[in-house]
């Protein structure tokens, strides 16, 4: 019933010359998304992927289990010295991420261009 979460990774360079690893998600982010969210992140080298950008542009449903997966990703990234940012969230999910405190540990941007410009 829940739509499968798809994810893929792109390697970009910010205008400032920093390597940025973009995790692009598509579908629902829910309890069934562990492999797509954490699995995709954990397959990346923590030594070489220092800036992680989460792309939620093609995600339209995130529930509390999905938010918990994002927090687990943030915990691992924090422990590995990686910085995490996100973009593409709707106004509603920006509000939800702010309510639960995620914005304290992951900067949010409206789109990829704004995120890259700031990194």
């Amino acid at each position: 019933m829940q739509s499968e979460t798809k994810s893929h990774v792109d390697q970009l360079t910010s205008p400032a010359g920093h390597a940025v690893t973009v995790l692009r998600f598509e579908g629902d982010i829910a309890s069934t998304s562990k492999e797509a969210v954490l699995g995709t992140y954990q397959a990346l080298s923590k030594a070489t992927n220092k800036i992680i950008l989460l792309d939620f542009t093609k995600v339209d449903y995130i529930n509390s289990s999905g938010i918990a997966l994002v927090i687990q990703l943030l915990i691992e990234a924090s422990n590995s010295g990686q910085k995490v940012y996100a973009y593409g969230l709707s106004a509603h999910f920006i509000k939800v991420f702010t309510m639960v405190g995620i914005t304290k540990y992951a900067g949010l941007f409206p789109d990829q261009a704004a995120a890259l410009a700031a990194l």
Partner: protein, 148 residues
């Protein structure tokens, strides 16, 4: 005293994760018909989804022989949603999640559903069934005067 007209819509969901989206879509449709602003519809969708997830996962313990009842009562200036399961009900009120404690492994990364419900609607109460069953969460979202 004038009579307040209420329109009821009922949905019955199987206790299977993912079906909360059926209740979410139904609640959104009713709220849009009532004239709620888009941002309030989004608040309601998340609150209803989380209430149904709690009912499926904790109330009915994913037992597909049990169903979750969702009753939407549209009044003149508010929408009430009851999500009913066969559990014993919530004994505690939702705590605000502490992101710092979560980040330091001192608090489970999960457990934000009840907080979100309470934060996103105008009223939320958890009622335990008298016989230890048929517990429900009751949500109310009010139509602001300026948007009616």
């Amino acid at each position: 005293m004038s009579e307040i007209k209420t329109t009821n819509v009922e949905v019955r969901l199987p206790s299977r994760m993912g079906f909360e989206k059926v209740a979410m879509s139904t609640a959104a449709s009713v709220a849009k018909l009532m004239g709620f602003r888009e941002d309030r519809v989004e608040d309601l969708k998340t609150a209803v989804a989380e209430a149904c997830i709690n009912a499926i996962e904790h109330g009915n313990r994913l037992n597909e022989k049990l169903s979750v009842g969702v009753v939407l009562s549209a009044g003149e200036d508010s929408l009430e949603v009851k999500v009913i399961d066969d559990g014993k009900g919530m004994k505690r009120q939702p705590a605000k999640p502490d992101i710092d404690r979560k980040m330091h492994g001192e608090e489970d990364p999960r457990g934000m559903g009840m907080f979100l419900i309470q934060a996103l609607v105008d009223e939320a109460e958890w009622v335990a069934g008298a016989d230890g069953k048929s517990s429900y969460v009751r949500l109310v979202i009010r139509l602001d005067k300026e948007q009616g």
